[in-house]
């Protein structure tokens, strides 16, 4: 009997060895291990064996079956692998063929810059607010310390509608609306469209965007203004950005300053981009003038604050090296797609 088993095993292994397809391996399985297979037939002969030898015989059969199954399984796996490999080989594609794109649209560079600025200030606890674009003289000028005869009113080349209604020349008007609400402290930025009667050319547009910032609280200092805007510049232009504050004059802040940042092209050594100066002017800022606070019902003895105004287009033009402002309002898809 033992020889018979050896024989079956040898025959099975031989047939497995000779199989060149999965179906053939399956045949081997059926032929040797199946219900009508050789081993089953051998098992059926068990009754002819002496009862004391039966356990030993059973063990032998099982061992043989296990051995055949093991080899069969290994072969099946091997065979499956080679079949898959053959299939994969056939499926080779040219990965350099063009992509199937969804042709997603692009945000306007102004908006990209704006969202960047919003992100930075929202992170510092500022609320984004909006104010009207068609505005009253009071909010655009008078409440900002620019009374009727002030020369700054001329400098801003205002578009007038009728009576005391005009197109706002600066988002600073939103400061006043926010202060009048009487809710303190204030930490806000107000982005928006402003208008000045400048003819359209490469560096001027009669309509452009500003972002106004305003912080009012107890104990706000000029040092806080410097710290906040330095932080802003680093976030917007990179960690290595340095800032420089130069004294300046705005009617609604005192002291006032203009802020320069180190040129983000050359890092401050001077290049064509920054006209060799190493610095680029970015924004105007200052401590809110006490008279401005008073006019909006805030006690300057109790509260101080700072304000700043950034030209959005200026940032977009600088950041993305756009050399002509007109491109921003032409909406040529070849321009927009670059952002």
């Amino acid at each position: 009997m033992k020889e018979r088993l050896e024989q079956i095993k040898a025959e099975a292994l031989k047939q497995i060895e000779a199989s060149d397809a999965l179906e053939k391996l399956n045949e081997v399985r059926v032929n040797f291990l199946g219900k009508k297979g050789e081993l089953t037939a051998v098992m059926k002969g068990m009754k002819d064996i002496a009862p004391e030898d039966r356990p030993k015989f059973g063990q032998l059969v099982n061992e043989t079956r296990a051995e055949i199954e093991r080899v069969l399984e290994t072969s099946v796996k091997k065979m499956e692998r080679s079949v898959r490999e053959a299939k994969l080989k056939k499926e080779v594609i040219d990965v350099t063929l063009p992509a199937k794109k969804n042709n997603v649209g692009h945000r306007h560079p102004n908006t990209i810059a704006l969202e960047e600025v919003e992100r930075i200030f929202i992170g510092m606890g500022y609320e984004v607010v909006e104010g009207p674009e068609v505005e009253r003289d009071y909010y655009n000028f008078e409440a900002l310390n620019i009374p009727a005869d002030h020369p700054a009113k001329d400098e801003q080349d205002t578009f007038y509608i009728s009576g005391d209604i005009l197109l706002r020349t600066q988002t600073s008007s939103t400061q006043v609306h926010e202060m009048e609400k009487g809710k303190l402290p204030i930490r806000m930025i107000a982005p928006g469209r402003v208008f000045r009667s400048d003819e359209v050319d490469a560096t001027h547009s009669p309509s452009f965007h500003q972002i106004e910032g305003l912080v009012i609280d107890r104990n706000i200092t000029f040092a806080d203004l410097k710290g906040t805007l330095a932080q802003f510049a680093k976030e917007l232009f990179g960690e290595d950005t340095k800032v420089k504050f130069r004294p300046h004059h705005f009617p609604f802040t005192e002291p006032s300053a203009e802020m320069d940042v180190t040129c983000f092209k050359c890092g401050g050594t001077g290049c064509r981009f920054c006209k060799g100066e190493g610095w680029i002017e970015i924004l105007g800022c200052g401590m809110v003038h006490p008279h401005v606070l008073e006019m909006s019902g805030i006690d300057p003895e109790q509260y101080t604050g700072f304000a700043f105004g950034v030209g959005l287009e200026r940032i977009a033009l600088l950041k993305y090296e756009i050399d002509d402002m007109r491109l921003l309002y032409e909406n040529d898809i070849r321009f927009l797609k670059q952002f």
Partner: protein
Amino acid sequence: MNTALSWIKAYVPDLKCTDQEYMDAMTLSGTKVEGYRRLDKNLEKIVVGQIEKIEKHPDADKLIVCQVNIGSEVIQIVTGAPNVKEGDKVPVVLDGGKVAGGHDGGPLPEDGIAIKAGKLRGVESNGMMCSIEELGSDRNMYPEAPEMGIYVFKEDVEIGSDAIEALGMRDTVFEYEVTSNRVDCYSVIGIAREAAATFRKPFCPPKVEVKENGEKVEDYISVEVQDKELCPRYCARVCTNIKIGPSPKWMQRRLAASGIRPINNLVDITNYVMEEYGQPMHAFDLDTIAGHKIIVRRAKDGDVFRTLDGQDRKLDADVLMICDAEKEVGIAGIMGGENSMITDDVKTVLFEAATFNGANIRKSAKRIGLRTDASGKFEKGLDPHNAEEAINRACQLIEELGCGEVVSGMADVHGDMKEKVVLPFEPDRYNKLLGTDVSKAEMLDIFKMIEVDYDPAANTLTMPTFRQDLLRQCDIAEEVARFYGYDKIPTTLPSGEATAGKLPFKLRIEQKARDIAEYCGFSQGMCYSFESPKVFDKLLLDADDPARRAITIANPLGEDFSIMRTLPLNGMLTSLATNYNRRNKEVRLYELGNVYIPKALPLTELPDERMQFTLGMYGNCDFFTMKGVVEEFFDSIGMKKKITYDPKAGRNYLHPGRQAAIIYEGTLLGCLGEVHPEVCDNYNMKTRAYVAVLDMPSVLPYATFERKYEGIAKYPAVSRDISMVVPKDIMVGQIEAVIEQRGGKILEDYSLFDIYEGDQIREGYKSVAYSITFRAKDRTLEEADISGAMRKILNGLEGMGIELRS
């Protein structure tokens, strides 16, 4: 304002720094330097030479050969210049040196022009004699230079010495940007004072002492100011025995560096004092002043006056005039009259140094259309104290420069002079505002430099009259900050109550609109808020369309920018057309921008500013592409209910058969459609284009970021397909309405899977097929449920004249 550094140094003699250091330090202390220009740029190895001998060039008629003594030796130079003669002293650039430009006075090359010894037509030439243009200047700066040819020194200069020094070109001209609050800095004195304070060096302004001739000014002139409001001070002095001639070189150089052309001693002195003190002055020929009397009064409406440039100017009662006993002789603060103009024959001069109401001068200059250097200064509101100092300085110069004699005394009319501003000295307050720790002593040091007086007994600060910008404690704090150094102020972040940063709901929805538009392939455009009133015709609006009621700008840049838009379409269509005409094939654009809807015209209230979400496209797309974008957007902002599309949108600018009003819960939110071909023509677009406009204030009440999970159905769904023959004029929307109304609670979904018109379908009909899905939340549906619902639906459809296909 442009000023030579040498002029500043005349009043701050200890100032020693490089040009760059000066620029940086002045800018950081608040006197912004825009840039500077070295007058000796590219001028190298140029000395004074004297021509000893001139001979003809052997081979060239137009050239001469000069032997030029340059001190150390005599060199030979060949030149073609026509104006030199033996004995002339001229600037000579030596071999290896450089000049700034060519003799034609064209633009200066960046690196100058190198000069080398060489031969001219075979004759050796070891250098070049220079014209003023080759030295980088012109006859405006050096009026004594010949029109063509070599500059010849008129004064005594040492042979072999530095010619550039002798020409006053070892100097740098700085350009300042003075802020409007610093009236005092529109003057050399003002800037010098700032420079002295910046570098902490002594400030030495000119000592003004006038040598008078003993005659009495009252015998020459009297002054009457009728409108003291408009003329706070009028100072007049008289100079006699005027001798007109050139002013000295030092004065000419300083004026030229400031961009003022030297004319003669009298004109130059007035200009010089205007630069030096920032006080414009006017000189009248006293012999033309009738009655030897000056009257300052308003003009009369409709008066016409000829200014000294020969132009007739129309006046009105708000224009202030300088008059004599009979007539008007000048427009106050703007320009003098032709009738009292100084000529070379002048014998006696009347000087005027006055201050006028700045706002009035500014407005008058604007109305008359004549803005002058003088009016530009007056309109800033000058310090009345400065007028006296300036007129005395002018008289001092008249006498010192031998231009004439000064009559004793001054006619001076003024009202009460403004009192000086006095503020308590509060160092802690300044430090608190600045976030600094500047010592009291250092503050007092700074105040001394800028002539703010400290009274220790009263602990008060008194502002000088020329600093009209110092009114409050914050102004003082800025002075401390400027001279302590903005760069030395620490950087901190605000302490205090924390606030939550946030983007308001409206802006979040707009952000979502941008996201969705971009996912759908639309790029963001931006258009102007103003446009031409002609756009309404281009958009085919009816004559009485309410959108024609637009806000008009009173002073627009032109008709094309004259009204505030009431529709966003012109901007979108113009942008699409720009792309179309530049042959961009596939274009999808969106814009988020306001339209401006007046409540009443003319405007008395602020208009309604309504944010419009506008989409526009052409290329591979159709009406339904646009409809898909609208629905994606609504879906993304939680608007899950059924959107109704009403084909009777009534928009003239859209295709009459391809437009729809977008209605949500009964509210009109906007419209979409194909652009009317005539409108496309009007915008020069030969393609179909599609637009959608959503009125965001109408959308906003329905938008939400709230989401609720409704579970995933546990029980199976069952679908039924129906195929119909539908009269052509029935819209699928009507079919869907029936399915919705009649499908009952178990109706889950339905979708159109086929629509067909053509061969197999009879004329006037279309074939439409829907798949309808039913599902119950709590059980498996039985056949009876489904057939019941279907029967109701089918009955409804049949009632509309729809036939079912088997």
